[in-house]
């Protein structure tokens, strides 16, 4: 059996379904990566895959049951098998509590286009430069560890109600850690990219060398509260968690920092400093993402009935006020708010934000510059208290200059609280969350922030 096109898979599945309605989602992904450590390549690969998800809907009286089945699908036989499984599961399923009318009758202008691939040649310029950087680093007593990844996913969403939607999503990033050969000093850089045309490994190696040189003076500091500058990458780490825990249902039921307990949300309440804006917008060019809802299975924050729902600019926090939470049409009826589905990008803007992180450093009398955060986990949902570590570069700032490297810390902080007490912000720039950017949430734009009393809870010996 030969491979079928994604459009053929969608049409064959829709034609074969015996359910009352169905949605077919095809994700066609190719990717290529290079990984290195100790100035040598370690692993690499070029992968291709195509998965199909069929969501079947079966009506019974006033209720509708839904079930979804996914699988690798390249042939009409394979998609037919997935369709049969989804139909059978829906017939046996309990009524769906999130039932809503399916979205109807929209077609993307590029629906008929084939999937867009990538391959190892995306590194035609990067790979030789990386090889040169390995040699240069080895000669200068540096060890490089890092990873580049490029993936292109083409999504096709078709439905029995007339949806034929297509979206191409390129996603890439470069990340590199440098250490001295004694392994006592470490620095990190990471950046998101769509096509690697803007990635220069030799320039990045230069910057890593500059940061390692900052560690010529080592300063050991105890735990405590410090005036701390967080770069856009670290702010992205914290904002992703702020967003992920913004589910409307959990808030409505009293289980999050956005709750008005025992029942209700804090929508309409000022939760951060004035001038803070947190938003998502699929049309923003640097962080463009899928402009329609794609949902394989329902949970508290996503509903299969919302598949194909157009996504538009959504302000989660506007001028410090909580204005929206992540919600489906189902939870929107619960909270009596508009449906504001999950969107795959996030932007933080501060009205007073200007300049760069260098400007924040120059304006700091004594404080810490933290280059990246790591192992961030939720400790308490009531306050959105997070814990995590600093990693690969904490620097002492004195009189506007970086004067040395400081030990690492474990920190405990709530990002919602931080947005209420920061004192300075840079302009917003494209950023890359070290914790979540590579695998889960790559499209962020954030400013650097200066926090006057960041809680460094204990010292970490890690170097």
């Amino acid at each position: 059996m030969s491979a079928a096109t994604p459009q053929e898979l969608v049409e064959r599945a829709l034609a074969a379904s015996t359910a009352d309605d169905c949605v077919v989602i095809i994700h066609d992904t190719t990717s290529a990566n290079l990984r290195w450590a100790n100035n040598t390549l370690t692993t690499n690969g070029q992968m291709s895959g195509r998965t199909a998800t069929v969501v079947s809907f079966v009506a019974s009286g006033d209720s509708v049951a839904a079930a979804s089945t996914s699988g690798s699908a390249t042939t009409v036989d394979e998609i037919a098998g997935i369709m049969r499984a989804a139909d059978a599961a829906a017939r046996l399923a309990e009524p769906a509590e999130d039932a809503n009318p399916l979205v109807r009758d929209r077609t993307s202008s590029d629906w008929d286009e084939p999937a867009t691939p990538t391959d190892i040649t995306v590194y035609d310029a990067v790979a030789p430069a990386l090889g040169e950087a390995f040699g240069r680093a080895a000669g200068a007593g540096r060890l490089l560890y890092g990873f580049v990844d490029h993936a292109v996913t083409t999504t096709y969403l078709g439905s029995s109600t007339g949806l034929r939607l297509r979206h191409v999503q390129p996603t890439g990033h470069f990340a590199c850690t440098a250490k001295d050969t004694a392994l006592t000093t470490s620095a990190w850089l990471g950046a998101a990219t769509r096509d690697f045309a803007d990635i220069d490994p030799l320039a990045l190696d230069d910057e890593l060398a500059r940061r390692l040189a900052w560690a010529a003076r080592r300063v050991d500091l105890p735990a405590g509260r410090y005036d701390t500058i967080l770069p856009p990458t670290a702010v992205a780490d914290l904002m992703v968690d702020t967003y992920w825990y913004a589910g409307a249902r959990d808030a409505w039921e009293g289980q999050s920092v956005y709750s008005q307990r025992p029942t209700g949300t804090r929508i309409g309440e000022r939760i951060t400093a004035p001038g803070v804006h947190l938003m998502s917008d699929p049309a923003l060019p640097d962080v463009a993402c899928t402009p329609f809802a794609v949902v394989g299975s329902s949970d508290s924050e996503r509903s299969v009935f919302d598949n194909g729902l157009p996504l538009a600019r959504t302000e989660w926090i506007r001028d410090g006020e909580l204005t929206s939470l992540i919600q489906t049409r189902h939870t929107a009826t619960m909270t009596e708010q508009p449906a504001t589905p999950y969107i795959d990008n996030l932007v933080l803007e501060i009205d007073s934000g200007s300049g760069t992180i260098d400007d924040l450093v120059a304006g700091t009398e004594r404080g810490l510059l933290v280059t990246s955060l790591w192992y961030i986990r939720l400790v308490d949902p009531q306050s959105l208290l997070l814990t995590g570590l600093t990693r690969d570069g904490v620097y002492l700032v004195e009189n506007g200059e970086i004067t040395g490297a400081v030990n690492n810390f474990r920190w405990n902080e709530s990002p919602v609280d931080l947005l209420g007490r920061f004192t300075h912000a840079s302009a917003t720039t494209r950023s890359f969350s070290r914790e979540w950017g590579a695998d889960y949430f790559p499209r962020t734009a954030t400013p650097a922030l200066r926090i006057p009393d960041f809680n460094m809870s204990s010292v970490s010996q890690a170097m």
Partner: protein, 510 residues
């Protein structure tokens, strides 16, 4: 016990493998291996008695990994045709050629005997995929309805995640393995609160390498005792909501296996992966304070600390017959009498440091290669890393009786550790205060924080075999591109002296 799924055996794994390996050999690969996998999974979510979502997945694909010109090359595909098998092999070789220019240390693999067409199936009775989704959903819905009857419970969730993993591995040396394993993660959580306080209480049932019998079977035969826990959790939540906030300070801790498994995972399991210790995870998951030059000299913990790596223990989540390098799996010592004595290895790691081999320096891998899908390259992943009980050790009650002022910690919740595995912070489901050797009600807002070797050095006693439980996780993350692995950790209840306790409300500045 079921055999290997006939629908997997009907797939063209052998034919595609033979073609791919032959093509890689023709192109000059010095090593080539072929993995053909099918991963069936199911997730069911229930909230307050209503089904939230049910999703099944059945992913099939294959991968070719080669060593060519001293460099790795890897490629994968999902089109199950002979042409595609050859094309993927060719792509793997072409990727290796790109990589060769950046590879300064040629790839070597530790030696391993050839296993000529062997099979292995994990230990379970009832295939969860043979039980109807409706029946499984009904059990979960019943759990949440029962929980919601508790006076302090406002809402309850329940979930099931089940996986059946089939792998066929073949390499140019002649090894052919066909394997199947099943794992399950049933869970529930009750939530409740007032205008002032919100909290939750979850089941402490571990995920396991068992079938549906884990849910509906006899607890004396290995099933979890869901009935007892469903009765207890609403009252435990009610008590927790009324309990006092902890006074930060230093306390003795008696830690139940339902919490201690995660501390073992983070501070021992990951710390003794040789790829981390050598820098292969330095840009992502991190390195390790435990380096191979410290074998036999690093005091990891107190003399009663004995830790094994084991990919053979029955019902373990990392248990399998042969790993993704084609190595027969094993059990070995990692910490003996408190001293570091071993690491976790795959074939490339074992070849780099043959003196670390469990087979008396024979340079053999101890079987820790794993890839979570055909789309990912195998890397060194964690064995079931477990703390051994004392043969005639005390009961949990006897351990509690040895504490004047402390906490009894049950169930896992939040976890975090630094990139060299020194500094960690954990919370839990239940923190019972201990006063003069007796439990004295729960405390809230508790986290414990320590440095790995200080913590394990402060372990004064481990419980007996009756206190031992195999805990674990479905979702351990590692590598770039990111992969997840399921892994178990067994341990007894254990007593730790003088550990730092934080008040999380104070940490939040509130």
């Amino acid at each position: 016990m079921p055999g290997i799924d006939a629908t997997f055996l009907a797939l063209p794994h052998r034919r595609l493998g033979d073609l791919a390996l032959a093509r890689a050999a023709d192109l000059g690969a010095s090593h080539a291996d072929f993995r053909f996998e099918r991963i069936r999974s199911q997730r069911i979510l229930v909230r307050d008695g209503a089904l939230q979502g049910a999703a099944d997945a059945d992913l099939v694909g294959f991968a070719v990994r080669v060593v060519h010109g001293g460099a790795w090359g890897f490629a994968s595909g999902v089109v199950l045709t002979e042409d595609e098998a050859r094309r993927v092999a060719e792509t793997a070789v072409s990727v290796a050629k790109v990589a060769a220019a950046m590879t300064t240390t040629p790839v070597e693999l530790a030696p391993e005997p050839v296993y000529d067409d062997v099979t292995w199936v994990s230990s379970y009775d009832l295939d969860p995929f043979e039980v109807s989704t409706a029946d499984k959903t009904a059990v979960l819905a019943d759990w949440t309805i029962r929980l919601c009857r508790g006076s302090a419970v406002d809402h309850a969730t329940a979930s099931l995640y089940a996986v059946q993993e089939n792998k066929y591995y073949a390499d140019l040396a002649g090894t052919r393995t066909t394997q199947q394993r099943v794992r399950m993660q049933p869970a529930f959580e009750a939530m409740g609160g007032t205008s002032e306080v919100f909290d939750s209480m979850a089941s402490i049932a571990p995920p396991v390498g068992r079938g549906w019998e884990y849910v509906v079977g006899d607890p004396s035969a290995g099933a979890w005792d869901w009935e007892i826990e469903l009765d207890e959790v609403p009252d435990l939540l009610a008590e927790k909501l009324k309990s006092p906030s902890i006074e930060a300070g230093r306390y003795d801790l008696v830690i139940h296996p339902s919490n201690l498994w995660l501390t073992i995972h983070e501070s021992i399991g990951h710390a003794t992966e040789l790829d981390r210790a050598l820098g292969y995870e330095a840009n992502y998951a991190g390195t390790s304070f435990a380096t191979p030059d410290q074998i036999g000299t690093l005091r990891y913990g107190s003399p009663i600390m004995n830790v094994t790596g084991d990919r053979t223990v029955e019902h373990g989540l990392a248990t399998i017959g042969y790993d993704d390098d084609g190595v027969a799996t094993q059990q070995w010592d990692i910490v003996r009498d408190g001293m570091l004595v071993g690491f976790q290895l795959d074939r490339p790691m074992a070849a780099l440091m043959p003196e670390l081999s469990a087979d008396e320096g024979a340079g053999r891998s101890n079987g820790c290669a794993y890839a979570d899908s055909p789309g990912h390259i195998p890397i060194q992943r964690m064995a079931n890393v477990s703390l051994q009980p004392a043969a005639d050790g005390p009961s949990t009650e006897e351990l509690i009786s040895q504490v004047e002022r402390g906490l009894y910690v049950v169930g896992d919740k939040s976890w975090s550790i630094d990139m060299q595995r020194f500094n960690f912070q954990f919370t839990g489901q239940r923190f019972f205060r201990i006063v003069d050797g007796r439990l004295a009600g729960q405390a809230r807002d508790v986290a414990y924080q320590a440095t790995t070797t200080d913590f394990w050095g402060a372990m004064e006693a481990v419980g007996g075999p009756d206190t031992w439980l195999l805990g674990g996780a479905f979702n351990c993350g590692k590598a770039q591109p990111g992969q997840v692995a399921a892994v178990s950790h067994g341990c007894p209840t254990a007593l730790f002296r003088d550990v730092r306790i934080l008040n999380t409300t104070e940490e939040a500045g509130q």
